[in-house]
Amino acid sequence: MSENSLAIRKFSDLANPTRFLALAARVLPWLAVLTVLFFAVGLWLSFTTEGDYQQGETVRIMYVHVPAAWLSMMCYTVMAISALGTLVWRHPLADVSAKAAAPIGASFTFLALVTGSLWGKPMWGTWWVWDARLTSVFVLFLMYLGLIALNRAMEDPARSARVSAVLVLVGFVNIPIIKFSVEWWNTLHQPASVMRLGGPTIDPEFLWPLMVMAIAFTLLFFSLHIAAMRNEIWRRRVTSLRRQAARNAGRESLAP
């Protein structure tokens, strides 16, 4: 068997929900332990490193704000890839993945908005401005809420899957807008200083806690996402079992 077909087989093996559940049970404890370790180191670094000469202590807000903002975009990207999986490959777990990711993405976007405000008040002198970056992230937050509402409004996951997949893909337009808003328009929000061509421009004193916290938050996201996907599979099993039980009951009562 060639290397390629083996890879495809592995991927389609994952399409089997039971195999996914077995994999999740094996992976989750390790992911959880790693997440806690990275958070322990990250938080320790966040509070032991020096403050900034201009921002003072408030630079520590960045160690939460930047990873939360990064995850708010990565989570939506994961949802967009899942939406492609639903529409193009009809991967049975793609819809489960998109649905499970939405509340997690909404939470991280909320966190990015609130911590940004709490940094903006002492540093900019205002909680909020309607500049391109802040507005586009706020739109992202509203899109998450809309998708959650849509998923909850439709009982039948088979029907809601395609509709929400199309909506996720249309909304993906917003992600490059968020990323490049600070370059395309004159914003109060500063331009990128970590993920930029030519390397990070911030001092290692701040880069280290930022990186460790970013890894910690990313690990947290994947742990939560896998666990939420597992919950969604269980939820669908409960629904189909109840339906099956109702059918059986109907058949028995009809039989003479």
Binding site: N16, T18, G56, E57, T58, R60, I61, V64, H65, A68, P103, I104, S107, F108, F110, L111, V114, T115, L118, W119, K121, P122, L220, L224, A227, A228, R230, N231, W234, R235, R237, V238, S240, L241, R242, Q244, A245, N248
Partner: protein, 58 residues
């Protein structure tokens, strides 16, 4: 005017509350679904694939 430390502390407090809320929700949701599945199984309702292969689910 709050001190800078107050802004930092409130940021971390919001972060802890949000993350704790997410973790509790995911864990609680999982436990509730597991309970439902166990109750269904106790009532003798099993997945057809499990019945067909005698315990080995597909």
């Amino acid at each position: 005017m709050m001190s800078h430390a107050a802004y930092v502390l409130s940021s971390y407090a919001v972060a802890v509350a949000t993350v704790a809320g997410l973790v509790l929700w995911v864990v609680g949701d999982g436990r509730a679904r597991q309970r439902e599945l166990k109750a269904l199984e106790a009532a003798g309702i099993r997945r057809r694939s499990v019945e067909a292969t005698g315990g080995e689910s597909t």
